[in-house]
C-alpha cells in the first residue's frame, strides 16, 4: 500500500484543492489507493467507510468519520468534494444503514434501487448533491489510479489473445445498455463467463471451477479477462477496477491475461499487479477504446 504509484501519472485536477476530500469508501483496496494518492499530493482526506462494504481493518490508519453522521462530520471537516469509490455489494434494502438520510429521501433511494447498479449509485449521488456536496470522480483527484495504455508487467498479449480481447469488448458493448457486469471471460473466441451480480472475482472462480471439472475445452493459458465501463456510463462512479487479487484469480482460472480499457478503468497497486502478473506469467494490458484486433 505504501508503494508510490508510478504508472499513468497525470497532472492533478482538484475540483476544490483547498478543502479536504471526503471519500465514501466501499470495499477493496482502491479506496485506500485513492486516499494515499490524494494525501501524497498534499490534500487532506476524510474517509467515510461504508458499513458492510468497506473492510474496517483497512481503514484503521485513516481519520474515519462515521457514515451515520456524514453531513455533520463532512461539514465540520470543511469537505465539499465527495468521491465514491470501492466495490459496492448490493445489500438487501432493509439492511442499508440510511440513518443519515432523512426519511423524506427514502422513497428516492428505493426507486433508485429498482434500476440496476447505475441507477442505485446515481440516485444516491443526487441525494448528496441536494445537500450541497459536489461529486468528483476518483481519477479527477488521483489520476494515477487510471489504467495506462500498454502492458503492466513484462508480458504482452499474442495475436490470438487480441482476437479474444476484441470479442469480449464487443460483448461488453452489447450488454452495456443492460446495466450489468463490466467483465467477461473469452477463450479461443468462446464466451466462458459474463459477470452478473456475483462480481469479477466470483466469476473468475467459476471459470477456475469449470476448468477443474474439465468443462472448458481450451487448455490453460488461453483466454482473457476483459473489463470495460458500460458505454455511456457516468464515469464519476463505479469504474471497472483491477488489482493484485484480480491477477491472482485470473491466473487461477488458467487465463492468458487481463485487458482493461485504458483511461477508463482503475488499477489498484500497479507495482503489485505487475509483480503478481510476472510471477504468474500472465499479461495485464490497457487497451485503447474501440481497439481493433
Amino acid at each position: 500500500m505504501s508503494e508510490a504509484p508510478t504508472i499513468g501519472m497525470l497532472p492533478p485536477v482538484n475540483a476544490d484543492g483547498d478543502s479536504p476530500l471526503a471519500i465514501i469508501a466501499g470495499g477493496g483496496s482502491i479506496p485506500i489507493a485513492v486516499a494515499e494518492a490524494v494525501t501524497q499530493r498534499g490534500r487532506r482526506v476524510v474517509m467515510f467507510p461504508v458499513r458492510g462494504w468497506a473492510d474496517p481493518a483497512a481503514h484503521r490508519e485513516h481519520h474515519n468519520a462515521q457514515a451515520n453522521v456524514f453531513r455533520r462530520h463532512a461539514r465540520a471537516e470543511g469537505c465539499r468534494d465527495v468521491v465514491f469509490v470501492g466495490t459496492a455489494l448490493r445489500p438487501p434494502l432493509r439492511s442499508l444503514r440510511i440513518d443519515w438520510l432523512t426519511l423524506r429521501l427514502l422513497p428516492r433511494v428505493v426507486r433508485a434501487y429498482r434500476g440496476g447498479d447505475d441507477h442505485l449509485i446515481s440516485g444516491v449521488a443526487r441525494v448528496f448533491e441536494d445537500y450541497g456536496f459536489r461529486i468528483v470522480a476518483p481519477h479527477q483527484v488521483a489520476p494515477e489510479i487510471l489504467m495506462p495504455i500498454g502492458p503492466v508487467g513484462s508480458l504482452s498479449p499474442s495475436e490470438r489473445d487480441h482476437v479474444d480481447i476484441a470479442r469480449a469488448l464487443a460483448l461488453l458493448e452489447a450488454t452495456g445498455p443492460f446495466d450489468m457486469g463490466q467483465a467477461a471471460v473469452v477463450a479461443a473466441n468462446h464466451v466462458l463467463a459474463v459477470e452478473g451480480a456475483e462480481g469479477t472475482d466470483a466469476m473468475l472462480g467459476r471459470v477456475a471451477e469449470l476448468r477443474a471439472k474439465g468443462r472448458i475445452a481450451t487448455p490453460t493459458g488461453i483466454g482473457v479477462l476483459v473489463k470495460a465501463p458500460k458505454p455511456g456510463q457516468d464515469r464519476r462512479f463505479d469504474l471497472p477496477a483491477i488489482g493484485p487479487r484480480t491477477v491472482e484469480e485470473a491466473a487461477r482460472a488458467g487465463l492468458a491475461g487481463i485487458a482493461v480499457l485504458a483511461g477508463a478503468a482503475i488499477i489498484a497497486e500497479p507495482l503489485a499487479v505487475a509483480a503478481v502478473a510476472d510471477r504468474a506469467k500472465i499479461f495485464v494490458i490497457g487497451v485503447a477504446e474501440r481497439a481493433a484486433s
Copy 2:
C-alpha cells in the same frame, strides 16, 4: 417418463417415417422424452448415448448402439434420420471419443471447436451429413416436446414479471451474436446472471448462493429465468430446454418463475414441470417471440 405428453400437440412431421430414427443423446431427460414420444407415434428408435454426456442409467431400457460404431450400427439398423438432442458438456478435446470418425475428419472437428457451441455442433453435424445421414430437429419428429404458448401449471406472471421477461429477452437478443448461453436471470429490472459455459442449472445455483449471502436486493419471489434460442441459430440443434429440475432450481433461487420462447424451446416432462411449478408456487410460461411487455 411414461406420462403421455398432452401439451403442444402438433401433427407429426416425420422426415422419413418408415426408417428407424437414430438419436444421438446428450445429457438430461430430454433425449428420453423424445425417444418416448417418437416410439408412441409408432416409429422405432435407436439410441446412441454419447459417452461422458448421456447418463448411462437413463438409457438402460432402450436399444442402445455403441457410439464408437455409429456408422455401422446406424446403417445396419436402417437409420437415415439422425436427431441430436440433450445437453452437451463441452469436454476437453483430448477426451472426446471420436473413434468412429475417420482421422481425416479430425481437423474439421478441431476447427469447429474453435468457435462457440454453435460452430462445434454444426461442424460435427456436417460430418454426419457427409456420411449420408440426414439431420432432423427433435421437434420435427416429436413436436409435443416444444414449449407451448401460455402457462404450464396454474400460475401466470404478474405485470412486473412481464417487464423482467421483456428485459431478459432483449438481453439474450443482444448476446445472441456471441454464441454463448441462452439463459439469463433478471429481477426487478436488474440482471442477476447470464449463462456462460456453466449451464442453466449452475447459473441458478449461483443466484441461490448470492441470495443466501444477502447479495441480492430483491426479495424472494421476484425475478425470472428466461431461456430463448440465439437469434438466427440453426434450430435443428441445441434448442434451449427446461424440465422439472430447472423448475426446482429456479424455485431454490427464489425466482417468481420461468419464461421460455414458445415453439423455440423444449419442455421435458410437461406434466411433471406443471406439478413441480405448482408445488413451488412459481409460474412457467411460453411467451411469443418478440413479446412486448
